[in-house]
Assembly symmetry: C2
Homo-oligomer: 409 residues x 2
């Protein structure tokens, strides 16, 4: 084949807010009708407060059809065809396109000031819709279920079974835990066991961070007041850290020791932190003068945290820049799964082909193939035979990656 | 001179707990008498819980005289003479040698479950003692005042004036803020102004982290129960992040824009994170596709956060390993201030000379001189003339740094 099989590790899909009503357990529809106008008003207020309402309107202008791919199956296939993408991992949406699931479900899944029963209801509404959406193009869609596992482990186990039976292929969990026990706690073991048994990888997606620290009252949804200076700069500097934190807890907590086949993906968190992170883990794992004063903290692990990372962890490398591609050996060639982040405005669409070529051109073809699709196909157990005709039709030509790098668009 | 002037950016000093009573405002002595046995019992319990009581006892065995340098002026001078150290920056102590100031003052200064009035009282007791301790060898001791600024800005301004008038040369602040506003908030401006005016650099020292996340009930001082597996591994992996966080808030908050002469030191946080951190700041500061959706977050800054870092920030590089020394250009040659961490067991003492030679040998002599002492002398405005005879007597010979690197002890 003279074209690459491309699997985006980072796509977002979700309904316009009002249309989630039909997917909601009827007993929550009254609450939904009360919450919806508040949710819409708050989103609009936040856009004004952060001076992004005009930017977002400009982004949508003339792109209405393509952006409706967030929920419209045909529109989505047109877009990913034009992007050269054969298949996608589908996270819930949020923020920019205003189509987050109800009641604070979605990829952020806040862990504070939440009514757990409602967050579960909103997650289930999304999962029901996502199962339908996947069925419209099952070979091209790896749908993820929202699972607010913090609130009820048994419910979470049932939900991952439901998701698997209904064609979903992984789960997304809250990346922050508020006052609940973090992910090194043994209470989560039954859930990890179910995910490992059912081959449902666990995902953490970048976005959540302690915004109350940055924005103060503005973040708590109180009357809009200007946040302290620099709030957004701090957010964009810190946000990657918070999507990696769950992994730190799982690695040291021995989760991959007890569940050797459990997969975890860290998505849209960049990959540039990986080499230094692994170095730090290795150093801390080694017996050092420093660690002696802190007692035994490694005898429950039979391997170094770095070994678990290499085996169990994958990186959703959204819009991977060339600098990171050049560090692929240190990051881990087989850990990298390239992604587009469509339909978010910070994603590569509608410049995906140019961006991927600029990131990867001149690198060995087999390595490019692994990062663009092979690693994801293996991680999610996808049927490559079924995807081959699609890739042969719309995939980027391998020859396009043979030239040298040029300036990104 | 054929010897280096060495200034350690990281020393710890503090009284045995019961002796702080004399330095405490009399009205808090009753509370002190109640709190002391609880504090001692809890320290002992924690040492048992983390299986370090025997390790710590082994560390102290036969070193009683040298470790009494934590509070004994003559013993301290003997130790730092033997280490080749002419002068030191003096933080409060804590943990290992069991001589933290009372009421949760000290370098950790927790921000939750604290009685602010008592934390202030404990800090003042330490500051009064530290002022005396500095006076016993003023040219060799850069004493820092504990300032729990979270609780009262006006009090903090008064304390920094008191500290300056009493011979102290900088302040240490809480590295975490709990539910109080973080350091980008304009409420701290009068305090930053006072520190800049009085040439009192602000310090954040590694150690504090969200231990409740790691250890659960064990961290909250409840009945000792075994923490979840991996708790300490997570702590040692995350702890550096938490000492850098205040800096992220100050840089983006424009603190160095409004207070261009304010100095900040980040101590015992390693320096290995610096190159990637600066790259991230630079990338986030640049106008990018990503940042556009988030509005304007940089127009209050006239320079890049990296420029403020180079100008205003110094790194207390305790026991700097050779790997970091080799990255000194990327970290910032003039930002690095080497340190020993005496008398902590993870510090370089009693192998300081070997360690510093292994870290720096073969590097250009002027660069070694800057990292070992020159940068610190400039940052703290020390009188190098007064230190020269001490360095000439006990400093490490420059010729010892001319050989190649060997295995560290």
């Amino acid at each position: 084949m003279n074209r690459h099989l491309v699997i985006s590790s980072d796509g977002h899909a979700g309904l316009p807010p009002e249309r989630y009503r039909d997917y909601l357990d009827p007993k929550f529809r009254e609450a939904f009708d009360l919450a919806l106008p508040i949710q819409l008003e708050r989103t609009a207020q936040m856009e004004k407060l952060f001076l992004v309402d005009e930017i977002n309107a400009g982004w949508r202008q003339g792109r209405e059809r393509a952006l409706s791919g967030a929920w419209d199956s045909d529109a989505r296939n047109e877009v990913i065809d034009s992007d050269g993408v054969a298949a996608e991992v589908l996270f819930p949406d949020g923020i920019t396109e205003r189509n987050a699931p109800p009641f604070g479900a979605g990829f952020s899944m806040p862990s504070e000031e939440v009514v757990p029963e409602l967050q579960w209801a909103g997650s289930r509404a999304h999962n029901r819709w996502m199962a339908e959406f996947v069925q419209m193009a099952p070979e091209r869609r790896v749908g993820l279920a929202c699972v607010p596992v913090l609130w009820d482990i048994s419910e979470a186990v049932r939900e991952v079974h439901w998701a698997r039976e209904n064609g979903l292929r992984g789960v997304i969990l809250p990346a922050m835990w508020g006052a609940q026990p973090p992910y090194h706690h043994p209470r989560y073991d039954p859930f990890w066991a179910a995910c490992a048994e059912l081959k449902m990888p666990v995902h953490f997606h970048s976005g959540l961070a302690p915004t109350q620290d940055y924005f103060g009252a503005a973040a708590a949804g109180e009357a809009p007041t200007a946040p302290p200076p620099g709030a957004m700069g701090i957010y964009v500097t810190e946000v990657v850290w918070y999507v990696v934190r769950p992994l730190t807890f799982m690695l040291w907590g021995g989760v991959f020791e007890r569940h050797p086949t459990l997969g975890v993906a860290i998505t849209e968190g960049t990959t540039i932190w990986v080499p230094e992170y692994l170095h730090l883990l290795e150093q801390r794992y080694a017996e050092t003068h420093y660690s002696q004063k802190l007692g035994d903290y490694r005898s429950h692990l039979s391997m170094s945290p770095v070994d678990y990372f290499r085996r169990n962890v994958r990186l959703g490398a959204s819009c991977m820049p060339r600098r990171e591609a050049e560090l692929r050996a240190e990051i881990g060639l087989s850990n990298i799964m390239w992604g587009t982040d469509y339909p978010h405005p910070e994603g590569s669409w509608p410049h995906t082909r140019e961006q991927m070529i600029n990131a990867f051109c001149g690198l060995p073809e087999a390595e490019v193939a692994a990062m663009l699709g092979g690693n994801a196909a293996a991680f999610y157990g996808l049927d490559v035979e079924k995807l081959a005709p699609i890739a042969a039709r719309i995939g980027p030509e391998k020859s396009a990656f043979q030239r040298g790098a040029q300036g990104a668009p």
